[in-house]
C-alpha cells in the first residue's frame, strides 16, 4: 500500500511535470475553467433573483449544496477526470502496455494523469462555499465541521467510483465515452440542486442507482440542521461514507469484470 502510494506520487508528479511543459495552455485552462464554472453558478443566482426559495431551500442553502458538490467533483476530476481518455488508451494500445506492467490496471490508468487544470473548478467551488457561508448563519460545532470535510471527501470518492463504473463501457465499445459522460457530468449537475425539486423517478435513480444524493444533499441537511422536505429517515444524513465504500467496491468489481472481458475478447 505504502509502495503503491509512493509510485502513485511519482507517476502523478511526472504527469504534472508533463502538463507544465505547456505553461500558457495550462494557465488559460485554469482561468477558463474558473470562468465557465462561475457562469454556471450565475445561473443559480439568476433563478433566485426571481424566486425567493427553491422548494424549502434559500439561496445560501443551495449555494452550500452547490459548493459541496463542486468541490467534490473538482477533486474527483483531479484524480480520475482523465478516464475520458480510456477509449484512447484502449484504441492506441496504451492499455495493452499497462497490462504488461507489474501493477493493477486501474492503478495505472488512474496514475497515468492528473487533471491539475481543474484547479479552476475547485477554486470556483471554494468561492461559492465562501459565499454560502457569508449568507448562511450556520451554528458550527466540531461535528458539523467534520461532516463538511468528510462530505467533500466522500463526495469525491463517490464521483470517482461512479466515473470508473460507467467508463467501463469503453471495454465493450470504444464509442462509449459519451454515454459515460452523460452519467458523470449529468450526475454532477443534478447534485447541485436540492433533490426534492426532481420528480420521483429521477429521485429514485439518484438515490439508489446513482448514489449522487449522498454527495451533498443528505449531509448538507445535517450541517444546515434542516428538515428533509421529503421526510426521508435521518440516518441517511450520516450514510455518505458507507455509500462511498459500497460505490468503490462496486466500481472495483465492475472494472475487474470489464478488463476480464477485454482480455478474452481482445478489444
Amino acid at each position: 500500500m505504502g509502495d503503491a502510494l509512493a509510485v502513485y506520487g511519482r507517476l502523478v508528479s511526472a504527469a504534472i511535470r508533463s502538463q507544465l511543459q505547456y505553461r500558457l495552455s495550462f494557465v488559460l485552462d485554469v482561468v477558463g475553467m474558473f470562468l465557465v464554472a462561475s457562469l454556471d453558478f450565475a445561473a443559480v443566482l439568476i433563478i433566485f433573483h426571481n424566486v425567493p426559495r427553491l422548494g424549502t431551500f434559500s439561496v445560501g442553502e443551495v449555494a452550500f449544496l452547490y459548493a459541496l458538490s463542486a468541490m467534490s467533483f473538482a477533486l474527483a476530476e483531479f484524480v480520475v477526470g482523465h478516464l475520458d481518455l480510456l477509449n484512447e488508451y484502449v484504441r492506441t494500445g496504451t492499455f495493452d502496455v499497462m497490462l504488461l506492467r507489474p501493477r493493477g490496471t486501474l492503478f495505472q490508468v488512474v496514475s497515468a494523469d492528473f487533471r491539475l487544470r481543474r484547479l479552476g473548478q475547485l477554486l470556483q467551488g471554494v468561492a461559492v462555499f465562501v459565499y454560502a457561508l457569508s449568507v448562511l448563519d450556520i451554528h458550527w460545532n466540531a461535528g458539523r465541521v467534520a461532516m463538511t470535510l468528510l462530505t467533500v471527501i466522500c463526495g469525491a470518492v463517490i464521483f470517482s467510483a461512479v466515473w470508473v463504473f460507467v467508463i467501463c463501457v469503453v471495454f465493450w465499445t470504444v464509442e462509449g465515452t459519451e454515454t459515460a459522460n452523460a452519467f458523470t457530468y449529468g450526475g454532477q449537475f443534478l447534485t447541485q440542486y436540492p433533490i426534492d425539486l426532481y420528480s420521483q423517478w429521477l429521485r429514485r435513480l439518484l438515490g439508489y442507482a446513482i448514489p449522487m444524493s449522498f454527495v451533498a444533499y443528505f449531509p448538507a441537511l445535517y450541517v444546515l440542521d434542516k428538515e428533509d422536505p421529503l421526510g426521508l429517515p435521518s440516518f441517511l444524513r450520516f450514510s455518505s461514507p458507507l455509500v462511498a465504500v459500497v460505490a468503490v467496491v462496486f466500481a472495483g468489481a465492475m472494472w475487474r469484470f470489464a478488463v476480464r472481458h477485454y482480455r478474452s475478447a481482445g478489444g
Binding site: 509502495d3 509510485v7 508533463s18 502496455v97 504488461l100 501493477r103 475478447a265
Partner: protein, 321 residues
C-alpha cells in the same frame, strides 16, 4: 521457457447485415498452436500481416486470454499470473510508446524503476551498461517527443531491459530504422542474449534481422504454424534466391548467364534470379557487364511474404523439420 500447447484464440466479430441487423461470426486468429522455446534461444516469429503473430505474443505476455489450450511462460500461466509474469518479461510493441512522451528520457527509466521495483544497485548497473551499449548519453535529458525514431527505439530497448527480464518479446524492433540504427539494435540484442542469457522472441519482416539474430524460426500463417526450424534450413530451401535488377544502356534480349534465370525484361531493365550457393551478386554483375553495358543495378532480397508464398506453393507441411 515458453510452452504453448494446442492454443486457440477465437474472436467474435459482427458483420453488418442491413441497417440494424448484425451477424455474429467467429474469427479464429490462432488455431491449434503448439511449440516450445528453450531458455537462451533467439527465436524469430514470422509470418505475413494478419497471420496471428501479435495475437500469439499478446497471449504469451498475458494481455489476452486464450480461448483454449495451455500456455506456460517462465513457469507461469500468463493469463492468470499476469503481474507476477510482468516482472520477469519485457516487451516492446513497435509503434506503441512506453516512454513518457513529454519528459526527458531518463525520467522514464526512473519511473519504470519504481513501477517494477528494481533494486537500486541493479538499476544503476543496468543503466550504466545500456547507456554505453545503446549510446544514450547524448539524448538522455531530451524529452521523448523530440527524439528521432532511432533514438526512441534505443530508449525503449533500454526501458524493456532495466528490470532484468528473462524473456523479451519484440514486435518489429528494427522497422523504419536506417542501416546503422538497425545494426545497433541487433548488436544490443545479441549482447543481451549472450551476456545475460535473455530468451528473445521477435516478430519481424526483415530477413536480415532473422539471419543476424535468430537461431530458431517459427513461421505462422492464418493462425497455424507452418514452419519450425533453423534459419539456415529455411533460407537454404526458400530464401536462397535473390534477384539482380540491372538497367542496361541499350535494349537487349534476355541475358543468358549460366545457372541464372532471366525472370523478366521490361525495356532497358532486366531481372535475373540467382541462388546464393551458385554465385554472388558481384560475380553475376561482372558476368552481366561482359555481355552488355550496365547503367545501374540493385539486388533484391526475398522478403518474408515471398518465403511464405514459396512454402505454400511447395505444398509440404514443414512443421517438425
Amino acid at each position: 521457457m515458453i510452452e504453448v500447447e494446442r492454443v486457440e484464440k477465437r474472436f467474435v466479430a459482427w458483420r453488418k447485415r442491413g441497417a440494424l441487423r448484425r451477424e455474429r461470426h467467429e474469427v479464429r486468429a490462432v488455431a491449434e498452436l503448439t511449440f516450445s522455446i528453450a531458455a537462451g534461444t533467439v527465436c524469430g516469429y514470422i509470418g505475413p500481416n494478419g497471420a496471428g503473430k501479435s495475437t500469439t505474443v499478446k497471449m504469451l505476455t498475458g494481455i489476452l486470454v486464450p480461448s483454449s489450450g495451455r500456455i506456460s511462460v517462465a513457469g507461469l500461466e500468463p493469463s492468470r499470473q499476469r503481474i507476477k509474469l510482468a516482472r520477469r518479461i519485457g516487451a516492446m510493441f513497435g509503434q506503441r510508446v512506453q516512454l513518457w512522451w513529454d519528459l526527458p528520457l531518463v525520467d522514464s527509466f526512473e519511473l519504470l524503476r519504481h513501477v517494477y521495483r528494481v533494486p537500486t544497485d541493479r538499476y544503476r548497473a543496468n543503466l550504466a551498461r545500456f547507456r554505453e551499449l545503446l549510446e544514450l548519453d547524448p539524448f538522455l535529458q531530451t524529452p521523448v517527443r523530440q527524439l528521432s525514431l532511432g533514438q526512441r527505439v534505443r530508449g525503449e530497448l533500454c526501458a524493456v531491459m532495466l528490470h532484468d527480464p528473462e524473456i523479451v518479446f519484440l514486435d518489429e524492433p528494427t522497422i523504419g530504422l536506417d542501416v546503422v540504427a538497425k545494426e545497433r539494435v541487433r548488436e544490443f540484442l545479441t549482447d543481451a542474449n549472450r551476456e545475460r542469457g535473455v530468451t528473445v522472441l521477435l516478430t519481424t519482416h526483415d530477413l536480415a534481422d532473422i539471419e543476424r539474430l535468430c537461431n530458431r524460426i517459427l513461421m505462422i500463417d492464418r493462425g497455424r504454424l507452418i514452419y519450425d526450424g533453423t534459419v539456415d534450413d529455411l533460407l537454404a530451401r526458400y530464401g536462397a534466391e535473390r534477384t539482380l535488377v540491372v538497367d542496361l544502356e541499350a535494349p537487349a534480349p534476355p541475358l543468358d548467364v549460366p545457372g541464372v534465370s532471366s525472370v523478366r525484361v521490361d525495356g532497358l531493365r532486366q531481372w535475373l534470379r540467382f541462388r546464393r550457393e551458385d554465385t554472388t551478386a558481384a560475380e553475376l554483375t561482372a558476368a552481366v557487364a561482359r555481355r552488355a553495358r550496365l547503367v545501374d543495378l540493385a539486388v533484391e532480397e526475398p522478403d518474408i511474404e515471398d518465403v511464405v508464398r514459396r512454402i505454400y506453393t511447395s505444398g509440404s507441411d514443414l512443421t517438425g523439420v
